[in-house]
Amino acid sequence: MEGPVPFPQRGEEIVWIYEKKLQYPVKVSTCNPTLAKYLVEQYGGADGELAAALRYLNQRYTIPDKVIGLLTDIGTEEFAHLEMIATMIYKLTKDAKPQALKEAGLGEHYVQHDSALFYNNAAGVPFSATYFQAKGDPIADLYEDIAAEEKARATYQWIIDMSDDTDLNDSLRYLREREIVHSQRFREAVEILKDERDRQKIF
C-alpha cells in the first residue's frame, strides 16, 4: 500500500511527524469579519477546541488503560479542529482594514492584537485553564468530556444559525458532526468502565 505521501516506516529515524494538511478543507466565500468574532468562541472559549484538546490530553494520564487511547485520539483531533478554526478566523480578518474590524465589533481586538489571532472567547475574555477540570475520577472526567462535546456541538449550531456563508457552514457542519461522534465514543468509554461483563462471563 503506497499513499501519495511516503509515510515513515517503523524503524526509520524520525524526530517528529506532522501532516501539514487540514483535517477538512476550509473555504470562506464572503468577506464578513463579524463571523470571525463569533468563531473565536471555538478558538479560545470555554467549550472551544483548545479547551477540549488540553482537557483530554491532560486527563489521559490518569484514566484506566482501556480508554487512554480514546482520549489521545480525540485530544489530538481537537488540535486539528483548532487549526481549521484558526484558518477560518485568519481568512475572515487578514484583508480587513481597521475600520472594517471596528464595524465588525473587533475594534478592541485590533487595538490589542492587530489582526493577530488570540486565544479569547467571542466576548474578548482571555483563555483560562479553569475552563476544564481533571478530577482524577474516571466517571466524573468522562461525564465532563461528554458535556464538553455537547456544548461544542451547540456552539457550532449557534454559529451556523448566525452565518449565511454556505462554504463556511459546510466546514462547521463537519466539525459539528465530529462532536457528535466524539460524544458517542465518550459515552461508550463510560459503558466500558462500568461494565460488569467480567463477572458474568466465563471464558
Binding site: R153, Q157, I160, D161, R173, E177, I180, V181, E191
Partner: protein, 82 residues
Amino acid sequence: MDQQRERFTPIKSYVPFRGLFDPCPPIGEKYYSTPPNLYLGFQPPNLEQFTPQEALRKGTLWKVFYDYYDNPYKRGGDSSHG
C-alpha cells in the same frame, strides 16, 4: 437508515411560556437538537457505512450518526413537539 429515523427525531421544539407583559414579540417555537448519539447506546456491530470518500466529507463513517444541521429558525419548523 429510515428505520433509525423513525425511532427518533434529531430536532425537537417547544413553545416557551408567554407572560402578560413580555416586552418582545413571541419567538414562536424554540428548537433544540437531539442527535443520534443520545439514542444508540454502545454502538452495535455491522451498522451501515458510508463509502470512505463520503465518510471523509460527512465527518462520520456510520450512517446512523450522520445528522445534518441547519438553522431551524430559517426553515420555520417541521419538527415534532416533545
